[in-house]
Symmetry: C2
Subunit: 541 residues, 2 copies
């Protein structure tokens, strides 16, 4: 944060009165965030609306009001910034997802997730690129070269894992959640890798050698990013276990956990790896080891802080995209030819649907061939939900589109302006329309899953496991890598309760024999109350 901000010349002079407009904007923005939280709370029980749609709508409304107040001149309260998104907003969301994910579900479906996320994204990207080349060449859009077409494929192959977290519920549909969300994380990484490859490779000479290089590059990225995340997580566990910070202050533990998590992301960026993958695995490792090495207060604080950070970042993104949607400059070019703009957006939406269908159903078929027990197979209804829930496009697509089509200030070009406005349209439409229809669709296709009114969507960001260690052993979701394999009610739960995979048994043996004694973890940290705060807390019980 320091480096970026400090290098700006006093832009927001709080002491002097020079830049009062940006103080106004900041006030407005923070107030809108508060409004989103309050309205989101009031609409909690509503079966259609979710927090993303609320934030998007408020963003668009504010954009309209600003547009009216400024006399149609600008809605430039905010401009979408790639940096802001990739450096400050995305890491907490993905880290929290890793921190709160049900680890067993995730690892049981690991192969499926990677298949969907990597191979699926490649298929989707290819189909979108080919379709775009087919359709756009016939239309009066402007000059787009082969690189642009391939980039469009990569841009629209990126599903929105943030939105997925909002529409699927970890507790109601654990299999679908882990599949779609896990796919989203891998898919984000794949899209970014693809996009970078498209921008850097010479695309006029495509031969098998380059394709091989590209594939190798992808696997290298995937493995090294994961390893980096795991290592950073383990390092944080080790250092907190050894130094035993709780003795003096829980704040040090909390600060160190947050900083180390952020460091993992930044290290990945340093080594040109996928920060998204790294921070996700860092979150998983931290929740498995580090989290058990800190004091009770720190556990409660970190769980809730990470969830809150992620929650605010999500709202921030949707508010941001909503407000940015009305940026007048981009629409000036597009408005000369509204027909073209609508056509482009519709074609893109159709291609997204086709591209996703082209890998979800065939890959599911392949996966079902391998699985023996009928309980393990992905039913057709579930396939439809997987297909549907991944149709939303979000901030990653926006960021990539801005990177591709506004480089060196080329927004003035007709083709670039049309692509930016179309991306905005696709993001808004898919988030609102597809997002609105996901909940009812799940209810319609899977009526068996339990729908308790208290277990509404945002609960996915306040997991049940927060205070679970207080319940004693064997009951909390932290333990789900090992012991509890008792089949529970609910058709989807039962799906995964039966197979006690051998890999997991070996992993657990290794975990108990070597990893936990070294890095700490549940049951391997001697209970010591720690900080003075802690002591008074325990006396109170």
């Amino acid at each position: 944060m320091a480096i970026e901000l400090s290098s700006i010349l006093s832009r927001l002079q709080t002491l002097s009165t020079s830049d009062h407009a940006s103080v106004v904007s900041m006030n407005l923005f923070v107030a809108l965030l508060c409004a989103c939280i309050v309205i989101g709370h009031l609409l909690e029980e509503n079966r259609w609306v979710n927090e993303s749609i609320t934030a998007l709508s408020i963003g668009v409304c504010t954009g309209v009001i600003i547009l009216l107040f400024s006399g149609g001149k600008s809605s430039h309260l905010l401009v979408f910034s790639e940096d802001l998104f990739f450096i400050y907003l995305l890491p907490p969301i993905i880290f929290n997802a890793g921190f709160q994910v049900k680890k067993k579900q995730f690892f049981v479906n690991f192969i499926t997730i990677v298949l969907f996320g990597a191979v699926g994204t490649l298929i989707s990207c290819t189909i979108i690129s080919l379709g775009v080349i087919q359709f756009f060449k016939k239309m009066d859009i402007g000059s787009l070269d082969i690189g642009d077409y391939l980039a469009i494929g990569a841009i629209f192959a990126a599903t929105d894992s943030v939105c997925t977290l909002q529409v699927l519920n970890q507790d109601e549909t654990p299999l679908l959640y882990s599949l779609v969300f896990g796919e989203g994380v891998v898919n984000d990484a794949t899209s970014v890798v693809l996009f970078n490859a498209i921008q850097s490779f010479d695309l006029n000479h495509i031969d098998p050698r380059i394709a091989l290089h590209f594939t190798g590059n992808f696997f290298y990225l995937f493995i090294t990013s994961t390893m980096l995340g795991v290592l950073t997580g383990l390092f944080s566990a080790y250092i907190i276990k050894k130094l035993y910070f709780g003795r003096h202050s829980t704040d040090r533990e909390v600060a160190l956990m947050i900083l180390m998590a952020y460091l993992s992301y930044m290290l990945a960026e340093l080594f040109y790896l996928s920060g998204i993958l790294t921070v996700f695995f860092c979150g998983i490792v931290m929740s498995h080891y580090t989290w058990h090495n800190v004091t009770e207060s720190s556990r409660i604080t970190t769980k809730h802080s990470f969830a809150t950070l992620s929650f605010v970042a999500e709202i921030f993104i949707f508010l941001y995209v909503g407000m940015d949607a009305l940026d007048i400059e981009k629409w000036r070019f597009a408005s000369n030819s509204p027909g073209t703009s609508i056509a482009v957006s519709s074609i893109l939406l159709a291609l997204i649907m086709a591209g996703r269908a082209a890998f979800v159903f065939p890959l599911s078929f392949l996966i079902n061939l391998v699985k023996k027990s009928p309980n393990e197979k992905i039913s057709f209804r579930q396939q439809v939900i997987i297909w549907w829930a991944g149709l939303m496009r979000g901030a990653v697509s926006m960021a990539l589109a801005y990177n591709q089509f506004t480089r060196a200030g080329h927004t003035q070009l007709r083709a670039n302006a049309i692509m930016i406005t179309s991306t905005t349209t696709v993001v808004l439409f898919s988030t609102v329309v597809f997002g609105l229809m996901t909940k009812p669709l799940i209810r319609f296709l899977l009526p068996h899953t339990k729908h308790t009114s208290s277990m509404t969507l945002s609960d996915s960001s306040t997991p049940k496991s927060v205070n679970a260690p207080l319940l004693g052993e064997g009951q909390d979701s932290e333990a789900d890598l090992g012991d509890t394999n008792i089949p529970r009610p609910g058709s989807l739960r039962a799906l995964l309760a039966t197979p006690t995979h051998t890999v997991h048994r070996y992993w657990r043996k290794f975990d108990d024999a070597f990893m936990r004694p070294v890095f700490g973890g549940r049951g391997f940290v001697p209970y010591v109350p720690g900080s003075p705060t802690e002591r008074s807390f325990l006396q109170g019980q």
Copy 2:
């Protein structure tokens, strides 16, 4: 945050490889923050060093290393940014101070604090300005006008409340803590107001009317800023009590508290008020009302999150100042005349000491005249500590100096360069030398106060009251506005235990009869477990 960052053109291109240097800087900076936390933890029991000095030293060392690596060309890893400081780092520190301050101590000494903070700062500023005019005119420094001299007075009248928090302990020396820290908050506000006044008023025509206008302006600022903070705090309490967010998710409560606190600061900036005062009083009100309206998990989370944020921001500032100290450009001018530079710094340090002595002892004498009981009087030894603990100059001075002497890129001027380097020298010297000697000085002058090894300095940022509500009524520090007036051991505690001020009795009646029923607060919120998380937590007990 959005507005600032978004308006920058893709500076830190994480997707592309363009600005890899800033990723390196960011990694280094986060890693250094982690190192500061770890080293601070290891040096916890040390009686000389505190966290600020650790961070400063690490900062300076890193600066040296960068200087060596870059071949003496630059140490420009970081440039001190006023915005970063005033918009992101200072608010959490001051808010947390208000949130964790012992309210009774603060309000009992309210008159003394305001006298020290407002009148004292004026005296100090006058003496420093006069001294600077006297000495600097004889020296070969360069062109400084009357506005510059007065600004120097305001710059060096700003004591460092952040550093004070580090060297004084709320539990060991509650009176001194509340006096020095409270003074620091008021003093910061006074300095900023003074500084703005000096920059905006026409200083060639000083007449009584302008002086009156100035005084009126100060009181207006003080009262409106306080009111704004109180109102924002009450609003947050009301909305959280009415809407009962805990029903669905504790994250919303936490997010809303953080955002509302930040909003209070930004609102103050919007209305050209003192954000420092506003956010401080917002913190006090939030800890008195809002904090009692949220779920148990939210209470623990907010207490620790605020403390952690503040803790990280403090380390950040000192690391920052340490690294910035070696900025080669500024030293180039100063190095031509090392004698002048040292002379200027020494004169400034002497003036700071004289200026502070000129109000601490006379004002204490006046205050002692009013107090009847000998227990209430401020002893001479305590006066010495008050004088000494306020000698440190910190980030506010740096920020003001940058504002005055680098405007419109005038660092090239000899006088400006000398003033910036002298400010850096004064900040470093006062923080390290005065900071190092404060702890031993207190031990020497007040040997009666208890020194338990577990109650070391950073405990002031993890207050004992975090989980206190679990202990039941009447035992926690939240209750210190009302009931517990039992004299306790320790000469300083006893000082304040005796007088049960009438104002407080009236306030408490009003609080119980009107405020708490409306805005919530301890004992006035029906106990409801709230979110599902909460429920499992309570079942666990």
